[in-house]
C-alpha cells in the first residue's frame, strides 16, 4: 500500500524538483537517481504483491476527492482556454460538458454511493506497473542524454527541458494512478492527466506541425474523456456503482452501456482507427516522447481498460464489434506500414496494428484471449521501446530516420544494429515474444470465432514483409563504410542495452511470467487458466538456443575465402559498386526497397480503414444500448 502511494507520489515530487532546478547538471542527476529509485520500488512492489496476493485498499480521505475535483476543474479550465486560444472550439465545448457532468456526479450522485475500495492491486496491475516502472524509467534515463543532443542539433527549438522532465514524471505518476485506482472517479482523474500531458509533450517543439498534431491529439482524447464521463454518469445514476471491480462483477444489463462507453474512451486512447491519427502525429515530438507514448504508457492505458472490461464484453454483440474494430485496425495499419520509409512511422503503424490485436483479444473476452492480450502487452512494450530508442539514436548519428539511409548499418554501427535487429526480431519472428503471443491470440480466436482469423492471417503476412525488408536494409554489407559508433552517449546506450537483453530475457522467462503473473490474473477473473503446452515451450527454447548460438558460426570461419566484387552484368568499373553504362560512362549503383505505394498507399487505406472502423464503433455503441 505504502509502496503504491510512493510510486504515485514520488514521480510527482521529482517532477516538481526537476521543474525547480535550473542547473542542468543537477537536474540530470536528479532524473537519473529517481529513475533508479522508481525502478527499484517497482521491484519491491513485485515481491510484495507476489507474496501477499490481491489487495484492495480503502483510502478513506474525503479530502482526496475534493482535491482531485479541484485539479480536474483547473485542468478542464486550462483545456477550455486552450481550445478557445487555438480556435478549436469543439475541444472547449466537449471539455466544458465534461466538467459539468463531473460536478453533477460529485455533488448530486456520489453521496448515495458507497465506495468500498479506492485503490487496489492485482497481478494485471502489477504487470503493467512493472512495465511502466522499468521501461518508463529507462526512457527517462535515455532522454537525459538524448535531450541535450537534441538541443545541440536543433538550435531553433527553445530549450524547455525543465518543463519536459516535469511532464515526463507527471505522466509516470498518472500512469501508476490509472493502474492502482479501483474508484473509477480516480481512474478518470489520472486518465485526464495523461491526456493533458500527452498534449504538452507532443507540442514540445512548438512548431506549426507540432501545434497542429498536439491539437488533434487533444481533440481525440478529450472526445474519449467525454465518453468516459458519460459512462461514469450512467454508472452512478443507473447502477449506483463507481468501482472497477464491481463493474466487472456486475449484471451485464446494467453495466454494458457504460462498459461500451469506456471501451470507446479506450479506443481513442489506444489510437484505434479512426482515431489513429493522433498517435502518428505524435512523431513530431522528440523520440523519448514517442517511445513513452507508444510502448509502455499512454496507449497501454487504453488497452488496459478494455482488457479490464473483457469479462463484461465477452459474448456480447458490442464485444464482438470491438474485436472487429481491433481486427480491422491490425490489418489496415500493417498494410499501410509496408508503404512507409520513415522508420518512426513504420514503428507508429506497427504500434497501432499491435494495439488492434490486443483490442481484438479484449473484445473477445475469453480466458484464452485475455491471456494472449496481456502477453502481447508485455512483449510489445519491451520490444517497441527498444526500437524507438534505437531509431532515435540512429537519427541523431546518421541525420535521418529514413530506412533507406540505414543501408549497411551493421557495418557502420554494429552494436546499435544488433540491438535494432533484436528489437525487430522481437516484434515478429519466432521464437521471440510477439510471435508467442500472436500464436496465443490465434488459438484464442480459433476457439471462439474462426472468422476473425482472416485479420491475423493477412495482417501477419504484411507484418512479416515490412519488418524483414527493414532488417534486410540493416544487414546489407556495403563496401567501404566508416565506423561511427563512438558518437553514442552512455546514457543512451545503457537503456538500449538493458532493453535488448530484456527482449531476449522475457522470451526465455516466458513460462514463469505466464505462470506467476498472467495466469493467476486470468484464473482469478475467469476461473480458468490458459497456458502453452510444455512440449511447445521446450521447442521454443530450443529454437531460441539455435537463434542465439548460430551466430557463433560467424566466428568460426577460419580459412580465408576468396572475396570478389558483386556481379554487375560483367561491367564492373574500378571501384566497388560502380559499373560501366553505355558509351563507357561510370555509374554508381543504388538499391532501394519495395514500398508498393500504389497498392498500400497511406491515404487510401487510412480512409477505408477509418470508415469501416467508425461504422463498427457506432454500431457497437448502438448494440450496447439495445442489449
Amino acid at each position: 500500500m505504502a509502496v503504491m502511494l510512493f510510486l504515485i507520489l514520488f514521480p510527482l515530487v521529482v517532477a516538481v524538483l526537476t521543474a525547480l532546478t535550473s542547473n542542468s547538471r543537477l537536474r540530470n542527476w536528479i532524473v537519473k537517481m529517481s529513475a533508479g529509485i522508481i525502478a527499484a520500488m517497482t521491484l519491491v512492489l513485485t515481491v510484495l504483491v507476489l507474496k501477499f496476493e490481491v489487495n484492495y485498499f480503502k483510502v478513506n480521505v474525503d479530502i482526496v476527492n475534493k482535491i482531485m475535483l479541484c485539479l480536474e476543474l483547473v485542468m478542464g479550465g486550462y483545456i477550455v482556454y486552450l481550445g478557445i486560444k487555438r480556435r478549436k472550439y469543439i475541444i472547449s465545448l466537449l471539455m466544458a460538458i465534461q466538467a459539468i457532468i463531473l460536478c453533477y456526479i460529485e455533488f448530486k450522485q456520489v453521496h448515495s454511493i458507497e465506495i468500498d475500495h479506492n485503490m487496489f492491486i492485482d497481478k494485471f496491475s502489477l504487470i503493467m506497473a512493472i512495465l511502466v516502472g522499468i521501461i518508463g524509467s529507462l526512457i527517462c534515463l535515455y532522454s537525459v542524454g538524448y535531450m541535450s543532443d537534441y538541443h545541440q542539433k536543433h538550435k531553433e527549438v527553445k530549450d524547455k527541458r525543465r518543463k519536459f522532465f516535469f511532464i515526463l514524471y507527471t505522466f509516470l505518476s498518472a500512469m501508476f494512478g490509472i493502474l492502482f485506482s479501483n474508484n473509477l472517479m480516480w481512474l478518470y482523474f489520472f486518465w485526464e492527466i495523461t491526456t493533458l500531458c500527452s498534449f504538452l509533450l507532443i507540442g514540445y517543439t512548438d512548431t506549426e506541425e507540432a501545434r497542429n498534431n498536439a491539437n488533434r491529439a487533444l481533440a481525440i482524447n478529450v472526445l474519449g474523456g467525454f465518453a468516459f464521463a458519460v459512462a461514469l454518469a450512467f454508472l452512478a445514476g443507473k447502477a449506483g456503482i463507481l468501482e472497477l471491480d464491481k463493474v466487472i462483477a456486475g449484471e451485464k444489463v446494467s453495466v454494458l452501456i457504460p462498459a461500451a462507453l469506456i471501451c470507446f474512451a479506450g479506443l481513442t486512447k489506444s489510437a484505434q482507427m479512426p482515431f489513429s491519427s493522433w498517435l502518428l502525429g505524435a512523431m513530431v515530438a522528440p523520440t523519448p516522447t514517442s517511445a513513452l507514448l507508444h510502448s509502455s504508457t499512454m496507449v497501454k492505458a487504453g488497452v488496459y481498460v478494455i482488457i479490464r472490461l473483457a469479462p463484461v464484453l465477452n459474448d456480447t454483440a458490442a464485444g464482438f464489434l470491438v474485436a472487429l474494430v481491433g481486427g480491422f485496425t491490425f490489418l489496415t495499419a500493417s498494410l499501410i506500414a509496408i508503404a512507409q520509409n520513415d522508420a518512426k512511422k513504420v514503428l507508429a503503424y506497427s504500434t497501432v496494428a499491435n494495439l488492434g490485436l490486443i483490442v481484438t483479444c479484449g473484445g473477445i473476452g475469453t480466458y484464452e484471449s485475455v491471456w494472449a492480450a496481456v502477453l502481447l502487452i508485455i512483449f510489445h512494450a519491451v520490444a517497441k521501446s527498444l526500437l524507438f530508442l534505437c531509431v532515435g539514436t540512429v537519427e541523431h548519428t546518421l541525420g535521418s530516420r529514413n530506412i533507406e539511409v540505414m543501408h549497411g548499418l551493421i557495418r557502420k554501427m554494429p552494436k546499435l544494429a544488433i540491438m535494432l535487429i533484436i528489437g525487430i526480431a522481437g516484434m515478429f519472428l519466432a521464437p521471440f515474444g510477439m510471435l508467442i503471443s500472436k500464436w496465443a491470440a490465434l488459438k484464442a480466436i480459433v476457439d471462439t470465432n474462426p472468422i476473425l482469423v482472416i485479420f491475423i492471417a493477412f495482417g501477419s503476412a504484411a507484418t512479416l514483409f515490412f519488418w524483414t525488408k527493414w532488417m534486410g536494409k540493416i544487414v546489407a554489407i556495403p563496401q567501404n563504410e566508416e565506423h561511427m559508433e563512438s558518437h553514442v552517449k552512455k546514457s543512451e546506450a545503457y537503456p538500449m542495452a538493458v532493453l535488448s537483453i530484456a527482449t531476449i530475457l522475457v522470451c526465455l522467462m516466458f513460462p514463469f511470467i505466464s505462470s506467476l503473473m498472467v495466469n493467476p490474473y486470468v484464473i482469478e477473473v475467469f476461473g480458468h487458466g490458459a497456458s502453452m503446452d510444455r512440449g511447445n515451450v521446450i521447442i521454443m527454447m530450443i529454437m531460441m538456443g539455435l537463434v542465439l548460438l548460430l551466430p557463433i558460426r560467424l566466428v568460426t570461419y577460419k580459412k580465408q575465402m576468396k572475396e570478389v566484387s558483386i556481379y554487375l552484368g560483367g561491367a564492373n568499373a574500378d571501384a566497388p559498386k560502380r559499373f560501366y553504362g553505355s558509351m563507357g560512362s561510370v555509374h554508381k549503383i543504388y538499391i532501394e526497397n519495395y514500398y508498393m505505394d500504389k497498392y498500400f498507399g497511406e491515404d487510401k487505406l487510412t480512409f477505408i480503414g477509418s470508415l469501416i472502423c467508425a461504422l463498427f464503433i457506432l454500431l457497437m455503441l448502438f448494440m450496447a444500448f439495445i442489449y
Binding site: L442, P450, V453, I456, A461, G472, G535, I566, I589
Partner: protein, 283 residues
C-alpha cells in the same frame, strides 16, 4: 523413441528423397518438352560438383545466413516429422525462409537484392493461406499436433476441399515453380541473372539446393496430411500434387509480382476463408 527414429530418418532420407524428386522433376520436364533430358541422378551429380568448386563470396556474412537457413530448414522438417505442433512448424519455416532472404540482402548486390525482395513478396503471398490451412485442420481435428492430425479417422480433404485447393495454389510458390518462381527460377530464359542466389557459389549454393530438397519433402508431407487416414492414398496424392506442379511449371510463363500477390490472397479468401466460414456455421 519413435520420434527420435523419425527425426533421424528424415535427416538421412530427406535429401535422398528430395534429390530423387528433383531428378524426377527434370526427367518428366524433359519428356514434356520432347527432350532427351538428364539421368535421374543428375541433381546429385550437380550438387557433388558444386561441393568441389571454390566458393567465391562477396562478404563473410552471407555464408552465415545460408548456413542458418539450412539448419533451420532441417529443424523445421524434424518438427514436422516428430509430429509436433503444426503452427510451430509454420513459424519455424518462416524463420528459416527469412534467413535466405537476409542472405540475399546482405550481399547488397542489385540482383540478389531484387531476388530477396521478390522472395519476400512470395512469402507475403503464401503466408495467409498457410495459416488458414492450419486453422482449418484444427477446426476439423480439434488438434494442432501433426501426430494427432495424421491419425484422424477420416480424410481431412473431405471437410477442407477449399483449403486443400488453396494450399495447392500456394504450393507452387513454395516449390519455386512457374508462374510463381519470382525470386529464383530453374528456367534460364525468364530469370533476372540468378535471382536471390546470384552471389552464391560452390558449397553455399549446394547448401541452398540441399535445403530446398529437405523443404520439398516436408511440403509434400503437408499434402499427405490431408489424406492421413489412408497412407497409400496419401502418398499417391502427394506424388500427384508434385506431378501437377511440374505440369503447371512447364505450361506457364512467370507472372508479375502484383498478380502473384493479388491472386494468392484472393484464393486464400475465396477458397480458404469460405471453407472455414462454412465449417464454422455448420459445426
Amino acid at each position: 523413441m519413435r520420434i527420435a527414429i523419425s527425426i533421424i530418418l528424415f535427416i538421412i532420407l530427406g535429401p535422398l528423397v528430395g534429390g530423387l524428386l528433383a531428378g524426377l522433376d527434370r526427367v518428366v520436364s524433359a519428356k514434356m518438352q520432347g527432350r532427351v533430358g538428364p539421368p535421374l541422378l543428375q541433381p546429385f551429380y550437380d550438387v557433388s560438383k558444386l561441393l568441389k568448386k571454390e566458393t567465391l563470396i562477396v562478404n563473410k556474412w552471407q555464408n552465415f545466413y545460408v548456413f542458418a537457413f539450412l539448419v533451420l530448414i532441417i529443424f523445421t522438417g524434424c518438427l514436422f516429422f516428430a509430429g509436433e505442433d503444426l503452427l510451430l512448424v509454420v513459424f519455424a519455416l518462416t524463420l528459416a525462409s527469412i534467413m535466405l532472404v537476409l542472405a540475399g540482402f546482405s550481399t547488397s548486390s542489385p540482383y540478389s537484392h531484387m531476388g530477396a525482395e521478390r522472395e519476400l513478396i512470395q512469402m507475403m503471398s503464401y503466408e495467409p493461406m498457410v495459416i488458414i490451412m492450419t486453422v482449418g485442420i484444427y477446426m476439423v481435428t480439434k488438434d494442432f499436433y501433426v501426430s494427432k492430425i495424421v491419425t484422424f479417422d477420416k480424410p481431412l480433404v473431405m471437410y477442407l476441399p477449399g483449403v486443400f485447393l488453396g494450399f495447392l495454389y500456394v504450393l507452387t510458390i513454395k516449390f519455386r515453380k512457374s508462374p510463381f518462381d519470382l525470386s529464383m527460377s530453374h528456367h534460364a530464359h525468364q530469370e533476372i541473372v540468378r535471382g536471390i542466389t546470384t552471389e552464391f557459389s560452390g558449397k553455399k549454393l549446394a547448401m541452398i539446393e540441399i535445403a530446398h530438397w529437405y523443404e520439398n519433402v516436408f511440403l509434400l508431407g503437408f499434402v499427405y496430411l490431408f489424406f492421413g487416414s489412408k497412407p497409400i492414398v496419401g502418398i499417391i496424392a502427394a506424388l500427384t500434387a508434385f506431378f501437377l506442379e511440374i505440369f503447371i511449371d512447364n505450361n506457364s510463363a512467370r507472372a508479375k509480382w502484383g498478380f502473384t500477390l493479388a491472386s494468392s490472397w484472393v484464393v486464400a479468401i475465396s477458397l480458404g476463408m469460405v471453407n472455414i466460414a462454412v465449417l464454422y456455421f455448420i459445426g
